[in-house]
Symmetry: D2
Subunit: 390 residues, 4 copies
Amino acid sequence: MAGNDGAQLGVGMVGYSFMGAAHSQAWRTAPRFFDLPLDPRMRVLGGRNPEALAAAAQRLGWESTETSWQALVARDDVDLVDVCTPGDTHAEIAIAALEAGKHVLCEKPLANTVAEAEKMVAVAEAAAARGQVAMVGFTYRRVPAIQLARQLVADGRIGTVRHVRAQYLQDWIADENAPLSWRLDKSKAGSGALGDIGAHVIDLAQFITGERITDVSGLLETFVKERPVATEFAGLSGQGGTERGPVTVDDAAVFLARLSGGGIGTFEATRFAYGRKNAIRLEINGSKGSVAFDFEDMNVLHFFDAADDAAVAGFRRIVVTEPEHAYVAHWWPAGHGLGYEHAFTHQAVDLVEGIAAGTHPAPTFADGLVVQRVLDAVERSAASGGWVQP
Amino acid sequence: MAGNDGAQLGVGMVGYSFMGAAHSQAWRTAPRFFDLPLDPRMRVLGGRNPEALAAAAQRLGWESTETSWQALVARDDVDLVDVCTPGDTHAEIAIAALEAGKHVLCEKPLANTVAEAEKMVAVAEAAAARGQVAMVGFTYRRVPAIQLARQLVADGRIGTVRHVRAQYLQDWIADENAPLSWRLDKSKAGSGALGDIGAHVIDLAQFITGERITDVSGLLETFVKERPVATEFAGLSGQGGTERGPVTVDDAAVFLARLSGGGIGTFEATRFAYGRKNAIRLEINGSKGSVAFDFEDMNVLHFFDAADDAAVAGFRRIVVTEPEHAYVAHWWPAGHGLGYEHAFTHQAVDLVEGIAAGTHPAPTFADGLVVQRVLDAVERSAASGGWVQP
Amino acid sequence: MAGNDGAQLGVGMVGYSFMGAAHSQAWRTAPRFFDLPLDPRMRVLGGRNPEALAAAAQRLGWESTETSWQALVARDDVDLVDVCTPGDTHAEIAIAALEAGKHVLCEKPLANTVAEAEKMVAVAEAAAARGQVAMVGFTYRRVPAIQLARQLVADGRIGTVRHVRAQYLQDWIADENAPLSWRLDKSKAGSGALGDIGAHVIDLAQFITGERITDVSGLLETFVKERPVATEFAGLSGQGGTERGPVTVDDAAVFLARLSGGGIGTFEATRFAYGRKNAIRLEINGSKGSVAFDFEDMNVLHFFDAADDAAVAGFRRIVVTEPEHAYVAHWWPAGHGLGYEHAFTHQAVDLVEGIAAGTHPAPTFADGLVVQRVLDAVERSAASGGWVQP
Amino acid sequence: MAGNDGAQLGVGMVGYSFMGAAHSQAWRTAPRFFDLPLDPRMRVLGGRNPEALAAAAQRLGWESTETSWQALVARDDVDLVDVCTPGDTHAEIAIAALEAGKHVLCEKPLANTVAEAEKMVAVAEAAAARGQVAMVGFTYRRVPAIQLARQLVADGRIGTVRHVRAQYLQDWIADENAPLSWRLDKSKAGSGALGDIGAHVIDLAQFITGERITDVSGLLETFVKERPVATEFAGLSGQGGTERGPVTVDDAAVFLARLSGGGIGTFEATRFAYGRKNAIRLEINGSKGSVAFDFEDMNVLHFFDAADDAAVAGFRRIVVTEPEHAYVAHWWPAGHGLGYEHAFTHQAVDLVEGIAAGTHPAPTFADGLVVQRVLDAVERSAASGGWVQP
C-alpha cells in the first residue's frame, strides 16, 4: 500500500452476512484507490458456527477466525472492531470493544433501544478521551451525490430548509408469502422498516440539512401479521413448510416531522412498495432552491437553483462523477458510475484517516443516538397518537 | 354540432379568471371533438365589474353578460350555472342556482366550510330528485392517465391498496416577496395550499383507490407570515408598494392518513417546492402492483405488475394516448399528447351526457363534501395535534 | 374578439381529416387566448364527398362548404386558403389560391417533388410582392420548448454547433398487418417516413441551429413490402379483406449530414420503433453547451450549460411553462402544460399577425423548399449510395 | 478462496493506467464474490518506468514487477497475460504471450489495424488448438442490463431486428483547450472516438442482436485540429504551455449500417457531446418489441413488449438487480446497484471459468477482428464517400 509508513491497522469483524460482505470489500478495496495513513489488515472474522465461519473467512479474505466475539475483541492484533451483527448485540460487543481499547465501527441502527444507545455513547465518549474512534455505519452519507447535496445546503445554495420529503421504499416482502427472517423478529431487529431502513433516511435528512428533527407524529403498520416460517427455522420445529409465525415488527412506518430550522418533513419507510427496489428518495426544498436524490439513480443529484434566470431554470441532472465531487477523483473518469458498495469503501477511508489523525469522523455514536431517539419517538408517537419529541 | 337533435343546453358562467378561461375553452371545444347529446351554448357570463366583464365575454366568447349573479341565475335561457368564483361564494350561488332549477357545475373545493358544503349537498339532493345535476370540478379525475390508474385499481391489477403517496407541489410563492392575493386570504379562500391544491390530491387518492380516508393526523405551516400587498390593493390603501399584509392561510399542509381498506397514506400540498411547477404526484402500492403518476408528465402512467416475470418486471411507462384509453380516441393519433385544459373538456362532455341521460356523473356535491370533511379534519388535527376522523 | 377594430380574415380550408381537425381547433382557439389584429372567420370547408363534408363542417364548426376547391378558392369571402390535403395536391391548390390573391397556409411537406415546390416558391414570391403571405405548416417550430431551444442557440448559449442528433420515431405500422393507407402510396404521399415525419426533424434541426444541411448520405428501407388492403379500398375492389397491396414508400429513412457551420448530424425517421409513439427527439451539442428535446415530454427542454461550475453542471430539465417562454403567458399558470394542438394555434396567431403587419412569417414556402431539397437529396443519395448536395 | 481445489492462475498484467486499475480490481474482487475453479494470483505487473511501476504495483496490489514485457511474458509463474497498453502494442505483446503458451486477455480495440488483428486471430486459433484462451476486453457485454438485452433478443422477445440506434457520447475534449493525449495521436491510438469508444457500441450492437454489420457508410470529423501540448510533452520540448500540436485522429465518427438480418442502424461516437459523460446508448426495435439502454443509468434496461395489451403497454424500466439477472445473485440484494468496474469482475470470472473448462469464452480475438473490420470499413467509407463492406 502506497503513501503510509507501513503502520498497520488490524481489523476484526464480527458477522459475515450481507453487511459483512460489504465491509470486507471495503477493507480490501480502500487502500487500492486511496492513499491511507494506516494499512488496514483483515486479521480476524468472528461468528458462532465454525464451519460457516471458516468458509466465510476464506471467501471474504480474512486471515483467521474466532468463534467467540469476546476472544476477537481481546486479540492484540486487532486495533478496530467492526460490528456487523443484528442490532440486539451491538451494544454488548461495541462496549466491550471500546473498553478493551479498540476503535469501533458499528452497523446501524446503533442499538435496539435508546437506553442501549445512551450507554454506548457514554462509553464511546470515555474512549474518545483515550483517543479511540467510534463510528456508526450510516454509509449512505458517503455516496458522492449525498455529499454534494450536503455541500450545497451547507453553502446556502438552497437557503432556509422548508420541506424534507424522505422515503425509503423497498418491496422485498410485498408478497405476503415471503418468509419470516430475523429482520421481522422484534427481539432481534428491534423494529422493522422503521429501524432497518427508516433509520437511513432519518440520518440522511439530518445530515444533508444540518438540522435536527425536533417533533414527530407517526404511524406504524404491519400489513401481513403472519408469514411462513423459513426452511431453516421450520427444520428446527420439525413441522415443515406450512407453519406460519408472527411478524412482530412494523412493515411500514410513516411520520411527519418538524425540523430545528423551522421546516417540516414527511418520512416513509416501507418494504411493501412493489416495483421500488431500494428507492432512497430525498427531496429538500429551501428558500433559494431544491435538491433531490433517488438511490435507484445513485450517481445523480438533481439541483434546482432559484437564482437561475426563469427562462432557463430547471432541475439540473448532475452526474456526480466529476473530479470535483467527493471521493470520485480516486476512482474512474467522468460518467463511469459507482455502485452500492463504494460508499462502504469511503466509510473505511474516512474512518482510517480519522484514526490516524486523532479526529472523530462522523457519524459518531452520538449521531447514532440522535437517530435512535427519533426512532423511539416515532414508536412512542405511533402508540400515543400524538406529537412527541425525540 | 353533429350527432344531436339540435337540443341546446344554455350555460351561464360566473367568474372569468383562470378557471373561467379554462371552462370557456371546454364549453367551446367539447362539441367539436365529441358527439354530444345536447349542444352547449355559451349564453351569459357573470361578474361585477362591467368593463372587465364585457372584455372577458368578448375574449372568451360568451354571448352576453350579467353584472349580478342573481340575474344570471334567473335567466330563462340558462340551463346550467357554472360557478368559477372564489370559494366563499360557492354555496350561495350554487344553492340559488339549484333552487332556480338549474344544473350546476361548481369549482372545487366545494365550499369553504363543512357546514356550507353540507347545505349544498342537501339542496343538490333535493334538486337531483327533480332531475337536476350538480357536479364539483375535481377536473384532474378526467386526465386519461388518471382514468387508467382508476381502471387498473378497479380491475384488481394492483390488489389491495397498502400505500398512497400523494403530493401536490408548486413553487409560485416560494419567493417570500411574492405578493398577497386572494388565495392567501382566509376569508376568501378558506384555506391555503390545503384547500386549493391539497383538495385535488385528496380527491384523486380516493377516486383512484375507490376508498375513503378514515383518519388523519396533520400539520399546517405558514412559512412567510407577511407579504407585500399587491399593486391593486396597494393603490387602494394609497401607501404604495412597501406595505405588507398578513398571510392568513397555510403555505403548506402535510398529513398522514388511514384508508378504509387498511392502507396508509402520506399527503402533502405546498406552494414552496422550488422547481416543482404543478407536480401532482400519486403513487399507490398494492398487494399485486403499483401505479404512479406525475402531472409534470401528464400523458404518462407508470404501472408495475408484480405478476410479470421477475426478470422482466419493471414500471411500465405507459404513454396514455392510445385509442384504448379514456377520451383519447376523440383527439389525436397515439403520441400526440393532451394538455392541461383537455380535462376540462372531458368534464364538460361527461356533464352534458349526464344531464341528457338523467344520470348523476361523479364527482357529485356529495363527493365534494367527502373531500371537504377531510380538509376540515386535517385542520382540526393540526390544531389538536392528534388523529381525527373526517 | 378583443383588441382589433373588427377587421375579419375569411378562412377557407381544404381537407378535413387529421390536419383539418387540428387547424380548425387552431382557428377557433387563437382569438380566445391571443389579441389578434384580424378576426379569423371559419367561412368555408372544402372536400369532395358532399355528405362527409357536411358532417365535418358541422362537427368542426365551419360556416359553409364547397365540394370543389376551385370554387372555394374563388370565393370573395375567403382571404386565406388553408391547404390540409395530401401532398400530391398541394402545388395545384396553393398556386391557384395565390394567383387568386389569397394568403395561403399549406401543410408540409410543401410538395411531393422539388419541381413542384420550386414553382410554388416562384408563385409565392410574386404574390408576396402583392402583399400576400404564404406559410408552410412546420408546426412543431411553435412548440414553446422548441422556441426556447432556438433562442438559446441564437443567443450563443451552446456556441458553435458540432452535433445534431435528430429522430422522429413512431410505431404505428410496426405491426406488419397494419393496413395500407394513402400515406403508404407514393403517388399520393410522395414518400413515406422520410417526407411525412422526417421532414419535420429536418426543418426543426435547421430552424434550431439556424444552419443549412449542405450534404447528405442516406438510406431508405421498406421492411414490409405488402400489406392488407384497408376495408375502404377493399370495398372498391370488391375482393374483401385478404387482399394485399404493395407499399410504395419507405418505412424508414436514415441519413448522415453535414451542416453549413461545420457540424455533423445523424437523422432518422421511422414508423417501426415499437414503443415510441411520437418521439420527436433532437439533441444539439455545441462548443459551449447542449440542448435536448423529446416530444413525448413536450413541455420540457433539457439544456446543458458548460459555463456552469463543474460540480453543479448538469442538464437542466426546464419546464417550459413560464411567462418568459414563447406563447405561454397567453395560456395557463406555470406547470399547466400544453398539448399537441397548441402549436397549431400559435401558427395561426403568427400567421394572422404577419398578414396584418405585412410581414412574411417563417416558415415561408422558400423554407419549405429548403426541406424539400433535403428530402430529394436523401432519396438521390439512397439511390446512388454516395454523398449528395441538396 | 472457496470452492476450488487450490489450483492457481498466475496473472501478469502489462500497463497500469486507467484500464490497469480496473483490471486489478477485477482480479482481486472476482474470487471474493464468485466461486472460481482457479485462484487468480496477481503475480507481476509490467511497465517501462521502474519508479512509476513500483508505485503502481504497490498501490494496485501486484506481487512483483517487470520493466520488460518480454520478461513478463517469459515468466513461469505467469499463466495469463493481461494486456492493458495502448493499441499500437497489442499485437506484439499478445502474439508473444500466446506463442509463449499463455492465455491472453487483451484490451479493446484488438489492434490498430485489420492486418494486425488478423495476425492475432491466426495466432490465437493456433493457440486455441493447444488449449489456450484469448479474449478481447469488450467489457460492457458483461453489464447485467446488456446481458438481459441479449437474452431478450435471443429469446425472440423483440422479434426480427429492424433498427439499431447506437451512440457513445462523451464530452471530455469538448473544450477546445483540453490538452493533447496519446488518445489523440493516431500513431498510438489508431483512431479517435471511432476506435476508442465507437468500437464498444459496434461490439454491443452485434452482441445484443446476434447479427453482423454487413455494410457501412460513414463520416469522420476532427472539430479541433490543434490542441495545447500537455505539460509532460511541453516539458520535453522546452517551450512551455503555449505550444499546440496536431490532433491526428477523429473527434467524432458517425455511420449508417445494414445488418445481416435485414435491419438498419445509425451509429455515433463522439467526445464532443457536452453534458454526456459516458452515455452508451443502445436502442433496438424489432418486429415484436424494443429494448433500450443508457450507461448513465447502467442498472436499468428498458423493454417494450408489443404483446402487452395496448392499454397497459409501455417501456418497462427494469431495474436489473434481481437474482434472476446475470451475475447479480453474487452481489447484493435487489436495488443495490453495481458500478462501472463490476463488468471487469464479470469478465475475469468468465475468463477464469473458460480457462478451467477448456472453452473459449466470447468475445474471442475473432470477435475482436469482426469489430476491427467494421472500424476499418468506416474509415474506408469516410475516405471514399460511399458504402463499404467490412
